[in-house]
Every structure is written in structure tokens, then in C-alpha cells.
């Protein structure tokens, strides 16, 4: 299904074999004296995915699975160790000058914490106008003002709120301001790094609905990062599941919730409280995510996996397609996932 779709829509964002290592060694002198080698943390390991125009792609995973690192890699806040990020066929790495500036403008980000993402010393109007000035999107001060007021109106605030400071707003209102700021750059693609996880549940729904409305209005494409599967279900067309920096499953949203292909995805879904009262027993997620500095051999999930055998312990699984899902799992490839633990 995904393959036939992607022939018609060319991907807006194409991520190929993206890896990111961080040097976590001790200082040089300590290493020499203590005779220790350099140590690297693999935050993102050979991740590939693509997002079509107008689609919402969600990345889910536990803390430390590399979700936010991928977000920062895509918006070029940090640079990848290897791999490629193509946006509309171009890479931020290889472009210069005006092309770079346009590319940069088209990719914007909404941050997790609306209390840290707005400069407390700036008025809301100046905060929203910053991208307009930085990218030269308005001809006059009057234009800037009008755009800011329009954007405030679009995100459900009043135009006169531009005179206020961020501390005069609640968390949800601040996130609306952050969204207005991202929109003022006139982007095509928004990276949303857990945009609702710092908000109250009642406000979360408002912000999510706002984001969907804006997506329809402006034809935006979202990369939506979350650890909350119920939020993701509401938003995403496709979902990628991350485990210890690698993508273990990449499926269309409905498929993932109905027929999870990877044991880890099943484990996550089994932990969701059962609202339909279907009598399903909720299973606790067992074990913890291992250290990314010294990951397990073979499939990194094998210590927590009930289907693991010797192959899983020794060899890294490759990505294969099954029923429209891209899965990286030996058990799935070898047909060992016979019984469905769900239900």
C-alpha cells in the first residue's frame, strides 16, 4: 500500500541511513592516564524513512530512543555522522546562499516546552515577527504587524495579545504562540517535538485539533514526535517506532494499531489502558531501554523480547516488508510470531 502511494506522491522529506554518534569519552588527558578508549553513544542508527507531501509521520519510542535527536538532525540543529536528509530533493548540507535560506525557511519546528521556547524578555508580537524579519518576508512594519495579527487570530488568540509578554499566557496559549511563530516563516514542513507533552490533557486536544486544522489550511506536512500512542493515533498517517536509535517498525497508522508487526510495538500497544472495556488484560512494559553506549549484540531488542532466539542474539535483523509494514525483526521474517499476544 505504501509503495503504490509513494509512486504518485513524491516524498517531501527523504531520510536515508541517518546515523548520529555522540562522543561521550572522558577528556583526552584522563583517557591517556587511565588507558581508556574513546567511547561513542549511538543516538540514531541507520534510520530511513520518507514523508509524503501533506502527510503526518509520527515517530514514537521510549525516552532515549533517539526521537528528539532525529528532530534536531532534520532541522539541522545538529549534524549527522552519516546518512542523508533530502528535503524536496535538496540537502541542507550541500546548498548555500539563497537556496539554503529558502530551504531553512520551509522547515520549521515546534518545541516541547512552551515555557522555554519563547524568550521571556520579548513581547509576543516581536517573537512571532522574528522569522518574518530574519527571512525578509515583509516589506514594511505595517505588513509585519498585519501578518502577526492574522497569525494570532489563526491560532486562536487575539491580535492585541501581541503587546503582552509570554509569562502572561498559560502553557496552551504559549504553545499557540510558538505555532504562530513557526507559521510566520511560511513553512511547508513542521517538525513537532512532543508539542503537547508539557500540557494538560484537556489543552492537549485543543492544540492537536488546531494543528490538524492548520495542516488542512496550509497544506502542511508534519513530522510528529511523541511518546503518547493515543496522541499519535489521533494525528498520524504513518508511524515509525524507534528502539534504541533504530527504526524497528514503519507502518500505516491503522495497520500498526490493528496488526503490530514488531514484538516491541506489541509490547507498547499492550501497555495502553483498555478504554473499550473489551476485557483485554493490560500488560506492563517490562525491562528498560539498554545503554546506547554499549548496546546488546544482534537485535538490540532481544533481551526484552519473548520471541528471541540465537539468531536474534547474534545477527542484526534487516528491514523487510510484511503486509504493508516495514519491520526489522528476525521473528517476523522467519514467521515465528505465530500467536498474537493481544486479546
Amino acid at each position: 500500500m505504501s509503495s503504490s502511494n509513494s509512486i504518485h506522491n513524491k516524498p517531501l522529506l527523504d531520510v536515508k541511513n541517518l546515523s548520529c554518534h555522540f562522543d561521550v569519552s572522558k577528556p583526552w588527558l584522563n583517557r591517556v592516564i587511565e588507558g581508556e578508549p574513546q567511547r561513542f553513544l549511538t543516538a540514531v542508527d541507520q534510520v530511513s524513512f520518507s514523508i509524503n507531501q501533506g502527510e503526518t509521520f509520527a515517530l514514537v519510542g521510549e525516552s532515549g530512543s533517539g526521537k528528539s535527536t532525529i528532530a534536531k538532525l532534520i532541522v539541522d540543529l545538529i549534524h549527522p555522522s552519516s546518512g542523508e536528509i533530502l528535503f524536496d530533493g535538496q540537502s541542507l548540507k550541500n546548498t548555500r546562499g539563497d537556496t539554503f535560506k529558502t530551504l531553512r525557511r520551509r522547515i520549521q519546528m515546534i518545541f516541547q516546552d512552551p515555557f522555554a521556547s519563547l524568550n521571556p524578555r520579548w513581547r509576543v508580537g516581536d517573537i512571532i515577527a522574528e522569522p518574518i524579519h530574519a527571512f525578509g518576508l515583509a516589506k514594511s512594519q505595517h505588513d509585519v504587524r498585519r501578518t502577526v495579527e492574522e497569525l494570532l487570530d489563526k491560532v486562536g488568540l487575539a491580535g492585541r495579545d501581541r503587546h503582552k509578554y509570554p509569562h502572561e499566557f498559560s502553557g496552551g496559549q504559549r504553545q499557540r504562540i510558538a505555532i504562530a511563530r513557526a507559521l510566520s516563516a511560511q513553512p511547508d514542513f513542521l517538525v513537532c517535538d512532543e508539542p503537547t507533552s508539557a500540557l494538560d490533557v484537556s489543552v492537549q486536544a485543543q492544540i492537536l485539533n488546531l494543528m490538524r486544522d492548520l495542516q488542512d489550511e496550509f497544506g502542511l506536512t508534519y513530522l510528529f514526535i511523541s511518546h503518547d500512542l493515543s496522541v499519535v493515533k489521533h494525528m498520524a498517517d504513518r508511524i515509525g517506532v524507534l528502539y534504541l536509535g533504530s527504526m524497528v517498525e514503519n507502518s500505516p497508522s491503522d495497520q500498526l494499531f490493528d496488526q503490530p508487526a514488531h514484538p516491541y510495538t506489541r509490547m507498547l500497544l499492550d501497555a495502553i489502558p483498555d478504554h473499550e472495556m473489551s476485557g483485554r488484560r493490560r500488560k506492563q512494559v517490562t525491562g528498560e531501554i539498554p545503554s546506547p553506549i554499549d548496546p546488546p549484540s544482534g537485535c538490540t531488542f532481544h533481551p526484552r523480547c519473548e520471541f528471541a532466539n540465537d539468531t536474534c542474539k547474534e545477527q542484526r535483523p534487516s528491514i523487510h516488508e510484511t503486509k504493508g509494514s516495514l519491520v526489522s525483526c528476525w521473528a517476523s521474517e522467519e514467521g515465528r510470531l505465530a500467536h498474537q499476544p493481544k486479546g
Partner: protein
């Protein structure tokens, strides 16, 4: 259409005075008599120094206005020869101590403010760069700061003063003395600012509003100047106030040791040193009054700085 999420209050257009009077800081200030007294004394000394030419009864350093017969007049007593009364007495050359203090405070405050401004600008700049750039730049700047901090400020100031003076030709020494003094006090005091600003910058630069600005392609210079600087200025204001008291004391110490400003432009420290020579011969007033003025000035400014530090620290509220 009504917006349920927008606040209904009008924008805060209250006047700046209203905002100051309504602030927590002013409320705290109004309940501390010692701080009010300190602020008043500081203000009086600053105003008296600023308007010295209009307030002072004499121009103490114009030799033509001095009468040697007035020398060593005790305070509040008529002079034995001329019958003139000076309410803080005169020194060996018949110079009115009160006028000398006014002009001396002028020099002391000028050097103090200029040295603090110089130290703050240097320290803030280096602190911002060290904190934002990190890595080797950070290491170099902060190790220099550490080395300098391991010496007493007065030693550093004396060293810089000595080196700079030796580089200036003899005939210019007297005019340049004040600038050399400002330079040496400023250079001995920048570390405080650099350290404070660096640590605040480290905290601020990882906040998401800075990352957002980077996404818009805002230059590092603009990010530092427009985003980070306004958010690290709070602590700088506090150490600046305390630093002013320290700079005035350091200037007086240097002048007392005879390496500060020349005797033709005496500061409070110079006056104290000159008066010190007469202390054991009974002319106590020549050194006591400049000393008291310095004490009041330094103490008031220091108390203000301490209060500001506590009042602006949310953890102590």
C-alpha cells in the same frame, strides 16, 4: 467571534513610574529603612560630587584661591590669624577639607563607575563568547580568568598599573593617570562578570528559544545580543553594584599607597593619605573627614548591592 483562549485584559500600557511603584522590588525597598538610608546617602554623595563646582565654598586646587595663613584650621573654629571658619577645617596649605572632599568624591566616583563599566563590558563580552562558543575558546578565556582570580585584585591592579605607566611617556603621565587607574581596576575585576555571564549563558543557550532563533538563521552575534544578553543581565546588575563599592575602595587603596591619581587631582584615597601624615601631630580632621566620606559611600553602595542581590533572588523571597 469571541476567542475563549485570549485574555480579556487590555495591554499593559501603565506608565513606567506606575510599574516601578507597583513592583515587588519597590515594595521590598520601601520596608527597609537601612536600605532607604543607604540609597539616600549614595544619592546625596553622587549629587554633591556631580555639582561640586557649585556647592563647594572654595576651589581647593586653584593655588590662587588658597591662603597659607589658613593652614591647619581645626573644624568649626575661627582661624587664629584670619578668623575664617571652615566647618571641616583646612589642611597644611589652607585648603578647605569640605571642598576637597567634594572634588575628591568626584574623582573617586568617576574612577569607580568607569572601572566598573569597563570591567562589566569586558567581562560580559568574554563571558558571552566563552559560554556560547564553548570548547577551546571557553577553556582559554576561563583559564586566564582562573589564573587572575588566584591573585589578590590589588596585586593585579598594581601590576597592570606599573606596566601601563612604564609604557606611557613621562610628560603624559599626569593626564593619563586616571585612565591608567580605570584600566588597571577594570582589568583586575572583569573575571567576576565573565564567570557569572558565562554560567548564565550556558544555561540560556540550550533553551529552546535560542534553538528556535538558530532555525530562523539568526546570526550568532544577534542571538547573543538580542536573546541571551537581556536574559543574563540580572546578576550582572547585582555584581556591578557591589563591584562599584569594591572599585571605589580599590581606587582609594591605590591612591593611599601613592600609585593612584596624582596629588594635583586628589581622590578620597589621596586625601586620606595626605592627612595621614598629620594624624600623629594632632591634625586629625585632615584624614578623618575624607575617611568617613569614603566609609559612608562604600558601605551604602555595598548595602544596596547586597540588598539588590537578595531581593532579586527568588529563592530568598
Amino acid at each position: 467571534m469571541t476567542n475563549p483562549t485570549s485574555l480579556s485584559t487590555p495591554p499593559a500600557d501603565a506608565s513606567i513610574w506606575r510599574r516601578i511603584l507597583d513592583s515587588d522590588l519597590f515594595y521590598d525597598f520601601s520596608r527597609r529603612p537601612i536600605i532607604i538610608l543607604s540609597a539616600l546617602l549614595t544619592l546625596v554623595i553622587i549629587l554633591a560630587a556631580a555639582f561640586a563646582p557649585w556647592i563647594a565654598p572654595h576651589t581647593p586646587f586653584d593655588p590662587s584661591s588658597l591662603n597659607l595663613m589658613d593652614g591647619f584650621t581645626p573644624p568649626m573654629e575661627p582661624n587664629a590669624f584670619t578668623g575664617n571658619v571652615y566647618w571641616m577645617g583646612t589642611d597644611s596649605q589652607g585648603r578647605d577639607i569640605f571642598s576637597a572632599i567634594l572634588y575628591g568624591a568626584r574623582i573617586s566616583l568617576l574612577v569607580g563607575f568607569a572601572a566598573v563599566a569597563f570591567a562589566a563590558i569586558l567581562g560580559i563580552t568574554l563571558g558571552l563568547i566563552a559560554g556560547y562558543k564553548g570548547g577551546l575558546v571557553d577553556t582559554i578565556i576561563m583559564r586566564i580568568a582562573d589564573v587572575q582570580l588566584s591573585f589578590p585584585a590589588i596585586l593585579v591592579a598594581l601590576l597592570i598599573f606599573g606596566i601601563t605607566k612604564s609604557l606611557i611617556p613621562n610628560e603624559m603621565q599626569e593626564q593619563a593617570a586616571i585612565y591608567v587607574l580605570i584600566l588597571s581596576i577594570g582589568l583586575s575585576d572583569w573575571v567576576q562578570y565573565a564567570r557569572t555571564v558565562r554560567s548564565s549563558t550556558l544555561a540560556e543557550k540550550n533553551k529552546e528559544y535560542v534553538q528556535a532563533a538558530r532555525l530562523f538563521g539568526v546570526s550568532s552575534f544577534r542571538i547573543l545580543a538580542r536573546h541571551i544578553l537581556p536574559n543574563v543581565m540580572g546578576p550582572v546588575l547585582v555584581i556591578g553594584t557591589i563591584g562599584l563599592a569594591l572599585a571605589i575602595i580599590l581606587e582609594s587603596t591605590l591612591s593611599f599607597l601613592g600609585v593612584g591619581v596624582p596629588a594635583t587631582q586628589p581622590s578620597l584615597g589621596t586625601l586620606i593619605r595626605v592627612g595621614n601624615e598629620f594624624l600623629f601631630s594632632g591634625e586629625w580632621w585632615i584624614t578623618l573627614f575624607p575617611g568617613i566620606t569614603l566609609l559612608i559611600l562604600a558601605l551604602s553602595v555595598n548595602l544596596l548591592g547586597d540588598w539588590l542581590r537578595d531581593a532579586l533572588n527568588p529563592r530568598l523571597r
